[in-house]
Amino acid sequence: MEGKKLRSKKGSERLKLAIIHIVLTLICLIWLVPFFILIIQSFRGETGMSTNYFFPKQWTIDNYVKLFTKTKFLKWYANTLIVALAVTVLQTLIVLMTGYALSRLRFKMRKPLMNVMLILGMFPGFLSMTAVYFVLKEINLTQNIFGLILVYAAGSAMQYYICKGFFDTIPKSLDEAARIDGADRHTVFIKIILPLAKPIIIYTILTAFIAPWGEYMFSSFIMLGDPDKFTVAVGMKQWLDKESVNEYFTVFCAAAVVVSIPVTALFIWLQKYYVEGVTGGSVKG
């Protein structure tokens, strides 16, 4: 009697688990199918925006050939790569410096500064874009990669929050011990805090590097009118305009695959740090 009850309970438990497994597999499918579609569409031979069957009837690599030979894609890719690398370096430096200063150093303007940045963050970023555009135009940096780098990097101090939260968790006793030994604050930062901050450094690098690949708002405005200077997002968006979508949709898919592979690989490689940064930052506030 007892045994039977136990077994039936076990059975219902197993049924539950089976259902959960099915649900999770379904979820994974839902998330993967669009990317699967993206990949097979990039090999589609038929032209046009879409077909009324799932698998293409002609398979080809023409889309990739066209992408690299007949479009400005390589140029856009190089632009985006340069911007991403430069922004990564600048943003990482700025975020670390700001994070350390606001976490460890005590000065009169510390709290007012943090409040001001909080309030500035509430303004829609694009609001300032017109003025930034004319400032850039005055120094001849519109339709210029350096202008875009400047715009991305200039505001990065406002993303200090997660970094500061991380520095806050490093015990202060470490600093104090070093200070007693005669180290100044700069030495403490370089020799003690930075070596301990590897996860947050990698997190900052990763987010800084990925952001320019998907950013559309600022880059489209700054590069307006010069297709040679587009980033991948701006250039590829053009292909999906109503006039060109029929010709370029499969090329778009090929380009999307080419853009996604390195970024995704990097991301999966450094996933651990990303998860740490995201969860740590969002919980500690």
């Binding site: 438990e13 688990l17 959960i20 497994h21 999770l24 979820i27 994974c28 669009p34 990317f35 579609i37 993206l38 925006m49 879409s50 009324n52 069957y53 410096m97 200063a101 150093l105 709290k111 500064l113 943090m114 909080l118 509430m122 303004f123 829609p124 970023g125 609001l127 300032s128 874009m129 017109t130 003025a131 004319f134 400032v135 005055e138 200039a154 505001g155 990065s156 100044d184 700069h186 030495t187 998907g214 559309y216 708002m217 405005f221 307006l224 590829m236 968006k237 999906l240 979508v245 778009f252 999307a256 990097l266 991301f267 999966i268 996933q271 995201v278 969860t279 969002s282 919980v283 506030g285």
Partner: protein, 502 residues
């Protein structure tokens, strides 16, 4: 009694109660703010006056060195052998004077009118064509005037520091103490003054690329800068609060009525969207995380990796792909028609209401992996024995979720929810790349049915050159975001370092 009633409420009821309480308390907190105002103002006034008393005492008690610093910055310090600071102050004054005489003054003088003559057409005999001679550019006048004002403020501050700094040094010397040498001064920038070293570049970036532009756009909101008033060919001028009146519906012309209607519609959808986008993602992400975390589920890592991978694919790729798959002639509609499931395409993105629902669903697809990631780590921290005792008390999984999981998660992740909500209020990518704000509506001006304030702002600027109105929209967006952040920050007890934020 009241406390007991409060404890009996469910989580959503508590939320409603607290939100109500916040608004109920609002008049009183506003009143107390104003009650405290005289004291605060007095404090400010005292601080302000202390600036003058400091200058006064420096003028009265200081020697000739301090007194010449009033006119020639840094000279007193140089006389005191504080060469580094002294020379920098002096250099700053010289540069400032040059800037004002040759550049700043020209623009500042025209700030009131924003220029008188924009351009003159002249017949060029040699070339046989009309040539344009450009004179006043309202845009540059406003921009450079603002910059000059910033520089003047910086100058006044430096001047004050120079006078008091010199006086301090004199006092130190009078007391018979040694002044810090140049070398020591330099070394302090890696130690005592290290924050100045670290923060100068980041803050310069923020001032030039964020603060100055925001001030600029706030001023633009009070001008008629639009398509008909485009520098350098035309001037624009101050129009007072006209743009604000138009947006809020006080305008007389039919055009401004339409604009005000558009503003209300867009604002409403922005808030509705941010609410649904944030909470559907959050709840469903949590559910997925719970499912994966459940004891006995195999391949946890595989499921998680598949979902995390989708975060890595650049968002614009997934969004634009979705916009094509869901189009009227897109793959999904075509497939369903050819399979005979439907007769005519479902207007996923071309019907107002359907598009709104589609956006929220696609946003789920984009956002669930992210919230799943956030929730996974926290869920593991909930003590297992809490569930154990709940089960012994006879609570089912739903009750356990409502009474244990949800309150715990809400408590810990409030900061995340706040940032998500604010991020969604300004979520440009999802809307712009998915629908582009469409479908268009006849009743609305320059905006479609799914436009958010931020995408509308983008269109007003990039496509329509309605800078004045766009600035007003930007300012209202700021107000909306600020109001919601204030409400949430006030409500959340889990913002532990609250005194640091507010």
């Amino acid at each position: 009694m009241v406390d007991l009633e409060y404890l009996k409420m469910s989580a959503p009821q508590k939320f409603v109660y607290r939100t109500k309480a916040f608004f109920k308390r609002l008049p009183r907190s506003i009143a107390s703010f104003f009650a405290a105002l005289p004291k605060k103002l007095y404090g400010c006034l005292m601080a302000f006056l202390s600036v003058f008393t400091n200058i006064g005492s420096a003028a009265k008690n200081g020697t000739w060195r301090t007194r010449i610093s009033f006119v020639a910055m840094g000279t007193g310090l140089i006389a005191l052998k504080q060469y580094l600071r002294g020379i920098l102050y002096l250099l700053f004054e010289v540069l400032f004077a040059l800037y004002m005489v040759f550049f700043g003054w020209k623009y500042l003088a025209k700030l009131g009118s924003l220029g008188e003559v924009a351009c003159v057409e002249e017949w060029d005999d040699a070339l046989g064509i009309f040539t344009y001679k450009f004179y006043d550019n309202s845009l540059l006048i406003l921009l450079y005037s603002l910059m000059t004002i910033f520089i003047i403020v910086a100058f006044i501050y430096m001047w004050y520091r120079n006078v008091t700094g010199c006086y301090e040094c004199e006092k130190v010397r009078e007391a018979g103490l040694k002044l810090t040498g140049t070398k020591e001064e330099l070394r302090s920038y890696t130690d005592r003054n290290y924050h100045k070293t670290l923060l100068s570049v980041p803050m310069l970036g923020i001032v030039v690329f964020t603060v100055l532009p925001i001030f600029f756009m706030i001023f633009i909101a009070f001008t008629n800068y639009d398509k008909a008033h485009m520098p350098p060919k035309e001037l624009f001028s101050w129009v007072g609060a006209e743009n604000f009146v138009n947006v809020l519906g006080g305008g007389i012309s039919a055009n401004s009525k339409v604009f005000a209607y558009t503003f209300r519609e867009v604002l409403l959808w922005t808030v509705v969207w941010a609410f649904f986008a944030t909470f559907t993602n959050y709840i469903l992400g949590m559910v997925v995380a719970i499912l994966i975390n459940k004891k006995g589920v195999r391949c946890k890592k595989l499921y998680r990796t598949v979902l995390v991978m989708t975060i890595a694919v650049p968002q614009f790729v997934s969004l634009m792909l979705m916009s094509q798959l869901l189009a009227d002639q897109g793959l999904l509609n075509n497939l369903m028609i050819s399979w005979g499931w439907i007769d005519k395409p479902i207007p996923f993105l071309t019907d107002g209401t359907a598009a709104k629902i589609t956006i929220i669903i696609v946003n789920l697809w984009i956002g669930i992996p992210f919230s799943m990631l956030i929730c996974t780590g926290i869920l593991m921290n909930i003590p297992e024995d809490l569930y154990e005792s709940a089960r012994i008390d006879g609570a089912g999984p739903v009750t356990a979720y409502m009474k244990i999981t949800l309150p715990y998660m809400l408590h810990v992740t409030t900061p995340y929810l706040i940032t998500q909500f604010i991020g969604n209020l300004n979520n440009f990518n999802v809307i712009f790349l998915l629908t582009g704000g469409e479908p268009l509506s006849l009743e609305m001006q320059y905006a479609g049915k799914t436009d958010l304030l931020i995408t509308w702002l983008y269109k007003l600027t990039v496509n329509e050159s309605q800078y004045g109105l766009a600035s007003v929209i930007g300012i209202f967006t700021f107000i909306v975001v600020a109001v919601f952040s204030l409400i949430f920050y006030n409500r959340s007890k889990s913002v532990k370092n609250e005194e640091e934020l507010m």
